[in-house]
Amino acid sequence: MAAALLVGLALAGCGSHKDTPQPAPPGATSSLAESGASQGSSSPAGSTAGGGPSGSASSGTSARPSGPAATSSRPSRTPAGPPTPDPVASELDQINQLINDINDSVQSSDSSQQGGE
């Protein structure tokens, strides 16, 4: 019974780790980076949507214990930062930004058409 429980806990642990270190597929990452770069403005928005460095840093800072007491009580450990986002989820965030750019292109073509000649 206890062994079964331990196995269950171990499996749960594996499941929670699975999301963290998955490498992105090389083809997908490079192709997306290429199309994202093409948009100019899309890169920053994409990184924001994907939980980029700036967002992570601010949340990490606010969560980090900064007082001396906190430092002395756990001297050997650095506080755990926010979990690394799944690379596929990040890519999907960037794709969403590119879809928004497509939408903008189509919508702006419509407004210029309404302008008449």
Partner: protein, 262 residues
């Protein structure tokens, strides 16, 4: 005597009316063009109203000078828009090189044509010829109703197609994750269904966008004037909006796979 005065006034009224018609033909689109700033919408109708004062001057005194000033204003407004369209094309790497070259060529042709027309207008001294040349600013180049939409819709279509490799990569990754989860005894039915839906949605978006660039870059001002370009633009717009929705759905399906595998 009185009838002579009346006749003279009628002639003036008639001339002014003719000028106004010529101006309004141009200014109907022009009138749609802008605020005081010459750069409201990137690549769009630059400067709606920028030439309004000159149009008023034409209405008040239909002289060669006022007509010429109005024509030059309208040409300059379009040249500013063409510069913006060039920047838009140059900034978009989603465009294929052949589409970018075709659009740049169209923009360049409009730019050189309008520049030549400006020189013609500057040298023109006859009012009827001047009015005809002013009308050509709109009808020969169709910067706002054709070229602008043509550029933006072609970019959108190529951008849709450029997303396919990204989705293919994601699909490959998710296929691997599903296989791993299945080997570990997880029920992957829902994840697999979401992945299948993602792949199908991407295929639908690509099928919608694929024929568009060739149709769009082939459009010409003459085709617009004959009425054949408008349906192409209209269909392209609605196809791209549908493709956008498919891509949104595909991205949601991809997220669902991730959720199902958690």
């Amino acid at each position: 005597m009185r009838s002579g005065i009346r006749g003279g006034r009628a002639a003036i009224r008639s001339t002014l009316g003719a000028v106004l018609v010529a101006v309004l033909v141009v200014a109907s689109g022009i009138g749609a063009a802008g605020a005081a700033s010459p750069a409201p919408v990137p690549g769009g109708p630059a400067g709606i109203g920028v030439c309004a004062a000159r149009a008023s001057a034409v209405r008040a005194t239909g002289t060669v000078a006022t007509l010429r000033a109005f024509g030059n204003c309208e040409i300059n407004r379009r040249l500013a828009t063409l510069n913006r369209l060039t920047a838009t094309v140059d900034a978009s790497k989603g465009l294929t090189s052949s589409d970018a070259a075709a659009l740049s060529s169209d923009i360049g042709a409009a730019r050189s044509g309008l520049t030549g027309l400006k020189a013609t207008i500057d040298g023109q001294t006859r009012i009827p010829a001047l009015k005809a040349e002013i009308v050509q600013i709109a009808t020969r180049y169709r910067v706002y109703v054709l070229l602008g939409p043509q550029v933006r819709l072609t970019i959108a279509a190529d951008d849709v197609l450029a997303l396919k490799p990204a989705f293919d990569g994601i699909s490959a990754t998710l296929t691997g994750r599903i296989a791993t989860a299945q080997r570990n005894g997880k029920d992957v039915t829902s994840a697999q269904a979401a992945l299948d839906a993602m792949n199908a949605a991407v295929a639908d978006a690509v099928a919608l966008a694929s024929p568009l660039p060739a149709k769009l870059v082939a459009l010409t001002p003459a085709g617009f004037n004959s009425g054949t370009a408008v349906p192409v633009l209209k269909n392209a717009r609605s196809a791209l909006l549908e493709a956008r929705d498919y891509l949104k759905a595909a991205a949601q399906d991809g997220r669902k796979v991730l959720t199902d595998l958690e």
